[in-house]
């Protein structure tokens, strides 16, 4: 799962800090304890010297200190042996009445000879650090420190990162506004951050390259279509001349007419492609307030013969005026493509219901086929089941036109056996 960069570093930081603090705590503990014992031991050694000196001057203390009393040492007779005067440090638990439990003591064990040459063992003790308590206290304070650090990092990260990544978010937002074929639709973001500046530059370069390729493709399409016009014109003209010949047999005549008709399909396809590239190239730039109701009625008039021939019943319902700022010619192409589809894919004696108000324009027609796949119908060269004659460009021209006018949208629906196309603002 993807996490925001704001949180992405946090888990690493939290983990790393934990490890660093643990190692630091161990070292700290070891050094501190070492220093503490060093100090304590020095004190004990000092005491030892003072006690032995006193025992030498005043042998009675040897007898008076057989147990630990207020003096915190004891002297016991012992066997003489080689390492008698060596220092042995140890840590032992002894009962401490104040705490009512055993507490750690540092004990120095050593030996000396009294004035009269007898060997004695000397034990000096001093209360020392309770290591486990100390450890727990250390752990608790470190934990608190750890939490405070991690929380601070979280908070700082959150605010600082949000601020620092603002240009990035802006770049993302601007990128989502970018539309292919409109180089100007991406606005670079002003930023002091070097990386984002670079991102800006790279994005701009990429868009530039894409636009160039796109331009090239569009120009290719337009040029190719243009170049096809002349040979088509020549071929069709020559066939026209042959058709004028009265000596042709029926078979020849029909074949030539068929050939010519096929060429005209090519002409129509060519025209559609040219129109698409012209729409994409913004060659229909003159904008005016177009009354769609008026255009629709005019087109219905133009299509009247075809409508009548198919016996189609047209219901026109106007509850308002649908108008928008568009190019008049494109509106005519848009509406006539939709209307032509509604006629072409209709059944004999079918219906076309057109309703218009200020917000939407709807064309619903009875049809031979069931629901169309809305994912494909606007694609270029997508063909329905039954028509081999259509170029498959009509609806994609509609789509291209509507892409020019972002205020207008189209939807398709199949309902109660009716194909419904709806344009709304």
């Amino acid at each position: 799962m993807a996490v925001s960069i704001k949180y992405y570093t946090n888990r690493f930081l939290a983990f790393t800090i934990l490890i660093i603090m643990a190692i630091w705590a161990l070292l700290f503990y070891a050094f501190l304890m070492d220093e503490v014992y060093d100090n304590v031991d020095d004190g004990l050694k000092n005491q030892k010297i003072e006690i032995i000196r006193e025992a030498y001057n005043n042998p009675s203390i040897i007898e008076d200190n057989k147990v630990y009393g207020i003096n915190q040492f004891r002297i016991l007779p012992t066997q003489d042996h080689k390492d008698l005067d060596k220092n042995h440090f140890s840590r032992e638990f002894m009962y401490m009445p104040y705490d009512e439990e055993d507490e750690p003591y540092r004990i120095l064990r050593t030996g000396f000879y009294s004035k009269d040459g007898k060997a004695y063992q000397l034990e000096i003790r001093t209360s020392t650090v309770e290591e486990d308590d100390y450890l727990i206290n250390l752990a608790i304070s470190l934990l608190v420190l750890y939490l405070v650090i991690v929380l601070s990092i979280l908070v700082i990260n959150y605010f600082v990162m949000s601020r620092a990544w603002k240009p990035f978010k802006q770049i993302l937002a601007n990128l989502s506004l970018y539309r292919f074929g409109h180089a100007k639709s991406f606005t670079p973001v002003q930023t002091q951050v070097k990386e984002f500046e670079e991102l800006n530059t790279r994005v701009l370069q990429m868009i530039d390259r894409n636009e160039q390729v796109f331009e090239g493709q569009k120009r290719f399409l337009e040029n190719a279509s243009h170049e096809l016009q002349t040979p088509l014109a020549i071929t069709i003209g020559k066939l026209d001349l042959i058709l004028q010949d009265d000596h042709l047999t029926e078979q020849q005549l029909v074949k030539i007419a068929d050939a010519k008709q096929s060429l005209h399909r090519m002409v129509a396809l060519n025209k559609s492609l040219l129109m698409l590239s012209r729409i994409d190239n913004n060659q229909y730039s003159q904008i005016e307030d177009v009354n769609f109701n008026e255009r629709m009625k005019r087109l219905l008039d133009d299509f009247e013969d075809m409508i009548q021939y198919k016996g189609i019943q047209v219901d026109l319902e106007e509850t308002g005026t649908f108008s928008s700022r568009c190019n008049l010619e494109l509106v005519d192409i848009l509406l006539s493509n939709l209307l032509r589809n509604a006629i072409k894919h209709n059944v004999q004696d079918g219906t076309i219901a057109i309703s218009m108000d200020s917000q939407k324009l709807q064309i619903a027609n009875s049809s031979q086929s069931g629901a169309l796949n809305p994912d494909y119908i606007f694609q270029r060269f997508h063909k329905g089941n039954q028509d081999s004659q259509s170029s498959g460009l009509g609806l994609s021209i509609v789509q291209s036109i509507l892409e020019k006018y972002t205020a207008l949208h189209i939807s398709y629906q199949y309902e109660d056996g009716l194909q419904i196309f709806r344009i709304y603002q």
């Binding site: 243009h226 020549i234 069709i236 003209g237 026209d240 005549l253 008709q261 087109l299 133009d302 006629i343």
Partner: protein, 223 residues
């Protein structure tokens, strides 16, 4: 009737020349900018067919030169560039009409005749065949003494037939001429059949000596 064709595609030029000669026009041709300009400026024609993209210059420049010299030569622009601005520009400079390539030759003829008619004196423009007369200025069809009431589409259709009696008129070119841009090859073109039927009935009722014959499903012919 004299026509100048300025067109650099030789094959297309020859096609138009052959077709228009068969329609009894006198044809002169030019296939580049200098010769086109020279002929257009020095001789009078009833109509000039002008291609826009010519070797040596633009057809629009020839058109401009004609207008600057105030030479009244009717011009029909023929262009492969079916671009809106070309069309607008051409008509603004003063062309009489604009026809995008490729076109039906029948359509070319109709446009030429319309241009010639508009530029001709009143009365010279009547079309006559057998006992039928058409007055294009008033859109009237007269059989003998009586006028036939054709509706708009019927008149347009019949006018095309009258331009070329006894010649095969293809369904597709008739439809493209009369119904214009709103049809394409994908449409069912049979609807023209009912229009023809109405025209035939009206012609019969008016005792016209002409009739429209179907030619093998390819088209129709006025006889």
């Amino acid at each position: 009737m004299k026509i100048l064709i300025i067109e650099d595609e030789i094959a297309l030029l020859q096609t138009m020349e052959e077709f228009l000669r068969a329609e009894n026009f006198l044809i002169e041709t030019a296939n580049d900018y200098p010769s086109g300009l020279e002929k257009a400026m020095n001789y009078a024609y009833d109509c000039i067919l002008l291609d826009i993209m010519l070797p040596g210059g633009s057809g629009l420049s020839i058109l401009k030169a004609l207008k600057e010299e105030h030479r009244k030569q009717p011009v029909l622009i023929l262009s492969a560039k079916d671009a809106v601005e070309d069309k607008v520009l051409g008509l603004e400079i003063g062309a009489d009409d604009y026809l995008a390539k490729p076109f039906h030759l029948a359509e070319l003829l109709a446009r030429i005749k319309a241009i010639i008619r508009r530029n001709a004196q009143q009365g010279e423009s009547m079309l006559q065949y057998k006992n039928i007369q058409i007055d294009p200025d008033n859109r009237q069809v007269i059989v003998g003494e009586t006028e036939i009431n054709f509706n708009r589409k019927e008149y347009d259709l019949f006018y095309y037939f009258m331009l070329r009696p006894n010649k095969l008129m293809e369904k597709t070119s008739l439809i493209e001429s009369v119904w214009g841009d709103h049809t394409d090859q994908a449409d069912n073109l049979d609807f023209i059949y009912s229009q023809i039927k109405n025209i035939r009935k009206k012609l019969r009722d008016a005792a016209a000596e002409v009739d429209i014959q179907a030619v093998y499903g390819v088209g129709y012919k006025l006889v």
